[in-house]
Chain length 424, copies 2
């Protein structure tokens, strides 16, 4: 497949997609589900081949588990398509309605972004999820999945294209297959409006550095939990253990814990015991090590995303020091305070410059499904457009529609018509 | 001034600014106005010197006019500050409020972006307007104005800093003075969140190509008016003349007019006569020239922003051809249709991929003041974040605040707590 041609076709398809009704887009989602069911045997066979190859290549067990696409995954995916079809239309929403002058009305109306390029990891079910989110929001999509899932992805994409034939414009979706395809895609800034990369830090950074196309996503997820002097110790331990251990290789897991000096002696020994029970290796600064035994933490630890059963811990003299540490070393993803003091909570919420700022709960909640967005295409640590978990809304932009009856700006200068700026 | 230090200071100031109340930010705007009044003689003297130098260097008359900062400009600027202070607080607005699970509530709350870098043209009053919009929205700002206004800008900036001393954190605003300063700024992607360039196409493109910082703005403004077969000829002429001639060197002026073949013979001669009365040079494609005399237009004309009294004109066989031409050659800024047919209007509104899509009015309305935004920091032709004229809202982002009482994700897995996803 030639990426240039696919991107140009997607650009044309996007203009047609923007003009489909919600009913047509939902019919496409149902068509996808039906085709997946129809092609299930072929998809499973392709997946078994991918699995066999991955086993031969000794892929790690968690990756193998993610690669599997069986009857139960298919039924999850089809259930997802049907609940997506049931969601309200994200397009055509009017978010501003204003009379500029009598007979001259301004509307701000949500519309698709256009062409989205998504690079995602090994899970083949992500292909269906991302493609369907793009279609529901009226966008064309170029997809690149993990190398090890290529056979499964091909079978899935074929089914999606067949199931939407005659409903969606040709070119609405295409699968890219190689790393070179991704590089070609990064140059298509006239055809592609947005790139969403999901993968390793290094890979996301590479993409951000090698394209003029806007990129939405996150490289690091260095999340913090700050245990304030006013924290409930039992709650702090419970939440910290969850934030660190509920899953390890995920972007919303805690990597550094900051502890107020006034609670450290009471809190650290209990918390370390609970963490070690879960197999966590602890690295502390000098003051931590005076209270509880652990390996030494260096400056480098504060800026490391372990994605593993390792936690760095630092004692701070004040909440301000904690907030400054988070803003300096964090990745503006998700950070939590454990505190019973209202003022301390408020200060944290205002002061920490992250997509998610949490009080008395685990950073692991940062996720589109948990936020009730239905699904997410990714999590953004940028500050423009969508921030945090990105669902349907983040795949939309808006346009200003101005409906008149012959008005000119000269008329406003000569005073023949006047601005009223009255919200309707 | 060292840009690196100014950017780092702005970064720190931004964290403090985000925690000020609306009252404090409004007090700063009032402090600005008072200081400008106090320093008026010094500001006027600096401006007279800039003007003298510009005259010696034979700056074009329209630029000289824009450079002037006198009693009347000062009073406009101070009136602007006071109406900005009267606008509602753009920060702390809750745009989503959802119970994820009993006692675990999610809020999406508007907050400042952080540090904004703005490069603007010769008008010194723009400095006050941009700085005040940034302060009202809680952002720190680095400003770079036109070289010819340097003395005036220095005097204005000094007054703003003095008038906000003790109200805003030190470092909230700084003036950059040279082109090299701008280049240094483009490298400060750890300190600066957003660059807004206002200036020539080439300059904006240069900035977009030379930084990893997100850029919001527009390079070209190639705006179209499409005269449909169903257009009222008198209205079409009136609106076309306004779109082309009400101002020439502006991004929202019409550069290309597309005319449906069925109305061309009736419309073109009248319209060309009216345009020529205003001194417009017309370049038409072959079919246009068969109907009305004019210079020939080439492919190059369709992609040219004249910013001058020149108009290219093309006859199209269908509305679809017009929409495709606009999406291909336009700059996604603002495009209008003149039509009485409802279906044709609707098709244009849906099909044209621009920040502004207008029916029966002049493209010249694309402007923050005319939209009732109070003022604008720029106009964006990008599709992410803010699109079209960008006012206070476009200078804000949001964060997700999650307020709990010890909830863990493990609790949701074991079923001890359940998701309710109930909007509050």
């Amino acid at each position: 497949m030639q990426v240039k041609e696919a991107a140009a076709a997607a650009r044309q398809a996007a203009y047609a997609l923007a003009q489909l009704t919600d009913e047509q887009r939902n019919a496409a989602l149902r068509g996808m589900a039906e085709a997946l069911q129809r092609h299930a045997p072929g998809i499973f066979a392709a997946n078994e081949q991918d699995m066999r190859k991955a086993e031969e290549e000794k892929l790690a067990f968690p990756l193998l588990k993610r690669l599997k696409f069986d009857e139960s995954k298919l039924s999850d995916v089809c259930a997802g398509l049907s609940s997506l079809a049931a969601l309200p239309d994200p397009l055509g929403k009017i978010t501003l309605k204003r009379e500029l002058s009598p007979g001259l009305d301004l509307y701000r109306v949500s519309c698709p972004i256009g062409v989205i390029g998504v690079v995602f990891e090994s899970r083949p079910d992500a292909l269906v999820q991302i493609a369907s989110l793009c279609v529901k929001s009226g966008n064309a999509v170029l997809l690149k999945g993990g190398r090890e899932a290529l056979g499964t992805n091909r079978a899935l994409m074929e089914a999606l294209l067949e199931g939407t034939k005659g409903i969606l414009p040709d070119g609405w979706g295409a699968l890219m297959e190689t790393r070179e395809d991704v590089n070609s895609m990064l140059a298509e800034d006239r055809s592609i409006d947005l790139i969403i990369p999901r993968g390793s830090n290094a890979f996301v950074r590479y993409i951000m550095d090698h394209t003029n196309i806007p990129v939405m996503g996150h490289a690091d997820g260095i999340c913090h939990t700050y245990v304030d002097a006013s924290a409930d110790v039992e709650m702090a331990v419970r939440v910290a253990v969850d934030a660190k251990t509920q899953a390890l290789a995920v972007c919303n897991a805690m990597e550094t814990m900051l502890v107020h000096r006034d609670i450290a002696e009471k809190f650290l020994p209990v918390c370390f015991a609970a963490l070690r029970e879960k197999g966590v290796e602890i690295r502390g600064d000098e003051r931590v090590r005076r209270i509880a035994d652990c390996a030494p933490a260096t400056e480098k630890d504060w800026e490391t995303e372990y994605l593993d059963a390792i936690l760095s811990v630092k004692i701070v003299d004040s909440e301000e020091e904690a907030v400054n540490h988070i803003n300096r070393y964090g990745s503006h993803h998700t950070d939590a305070i454990i505190a019973s003091d209202r003022e301390a909570q408020e200060k944290f919420l205002m002061g920490v410059d992250s997509a998610g700022v949490y009080v008395n709960c685990s950073t692991r909640f940062a996720d589109g499904y948990r936020y009730g967005f239905g699904a997410e295409v990714g999590i953004s640590t940028g500050k423009l457009h969508a921030r945090g978990p990105v669902g349907l809304e983040g795949l939309c932009t808006y346009k200003y529609q101005l409906l008149g009856s012959g008005q000119t700006v000269e008329d406003t200068v000569t005073g023949r018509i006047a601005y009223t700026h009255r919200d309707l």
